[in-house]
Symmetry: C2
Subunit: 217 residues, 2 copies
Amino acid sequence: MNGFIAPQNPNLMETTLKSRETMHRLCGKGLEIFNEKGYYNTSLDDILNQLSLSKGAFYHHFKSKEDYFISIVQNLIVQKVYALLIEPLNTEENPLPIIVESLENALEPGKKNEMAYGFMLNDFLTEFNKRNEEISGYLKDILNVWEVNLVSVLKKGKLDGYIARHVDCEGVATYIIASYLGMRSLMTDSSNRQLKYQYAQQLKHYFKSLEPQPVMA
Amino acid sequence: MNGFIAPQNPNLMETTLKSRETMHRLCGKGLEIFNEKGYYNTSLDDILNQLSLSKGAFYHHFKSKEDYFISIVQNLIVQKVYALLIEPLNTEENPLPIIVESLENALEPGKKNEMAYGFMLNDFLTEFNKRNEEISGYLKDILNVWEVNLVSVLKKGKLDGYIARHVDCEGVATYIIASYLGMRSLMTDSSNRQLKYQYAQQLKHYFKSLEPQPVMA
DNA sequence: CATTTAACCGACCTGCAAGTCGGTTCAGAT
DNA sequence: ATCTGAACCGACTTGCAGGTCGGTTAAATG
């Protein structure tokens, strides 16, 4: 009691770290299994058994399964979408090939051997659409952020002369997102090379129709 | 016993009709509610209460909830897909506008006041993908039929000079299906005019890129 | 050493929904 | 009139999964 507010003492910090680590393990494994089997088809015990944790441990950290999943969305899924689909858009170049590349990349089932599950937004979106409005809302928010960023980069591409002036950037963004979500629906058997190739090719054709027409001599 | 095989006697036919009618009512209501709330989120009682039928009635006609849904798929959903997406392709004209039209039509939330639910294949596909391989298979079969028909009509369009020779018809069909499924994911709040309009516009742009290039003078 | 408390354990509670089963109704056959 | 069986009823069984709760462990503190 020397008049200062005491700094967090070390042991408290340590326990906090322990707690955080367990939460992270729970979230990571949760995302993995929810992504594999779906949220409603996965019981908490499915996850807890794999981590050798108990119900008690779980409910010490999360107040419900729903709360748990919201944590997963807001920590892990948001991060993934940013890393795979939004940050790559930050470039000065022609946005169209960049978009194709980011989408192709995001259709990969898993990079290397870490975090080996692809992009799962579509499945979750559909699963929660008619079941849980709150979670559904969070997922849609993520899509909206993506859309806003796509529109922004498309408009910039228009200014820079990569995209024709007549193009409706919002429409294009919507169409890109729709086709991407749909591809994820079709790609059940994860790494379907054929589908991925077809998608990239057609996307390129479509994008060609957005380019300014070369002026005829 | 006059040596002929007796024709189905009338009362048997009558009871068969009664039975059929109940099954039809069950299937119709089932599709409606499954489509609204999802298969796994709908209990049989939800449906039976609305029809004032009992568990006993249900299990007299179907051997399980799964069997029930398979009936719905093979009777009603198959029909819908044919009517909305496959039969319209039967035409001698330029297939591209026909395809756009059929897709726009299929995005309508409901025609008139009968059968007022749109096209639900995508939701069911996602719901069953990780849960029930058998049902998932039936749904994929439907998609495959659609794809085959799209490819066929595109190839015909190529022969008739409506589509450029370099076009990969399988790829285009895949891309069409993907974008359509994705739109259905996005259109939570059913009749979203804006989304539908954007989709149709972009689809037309995309299709323009598939047309043969006019020969320059 | 005693005390406190975060982290964790696991048996139990509880609600829900699929599926069962013995019974009832009633139209038509004999 | 009686009988048969299809159609239907609804209380009950069963299993599952989310959530609860009293107890245990272990680390830090005094």
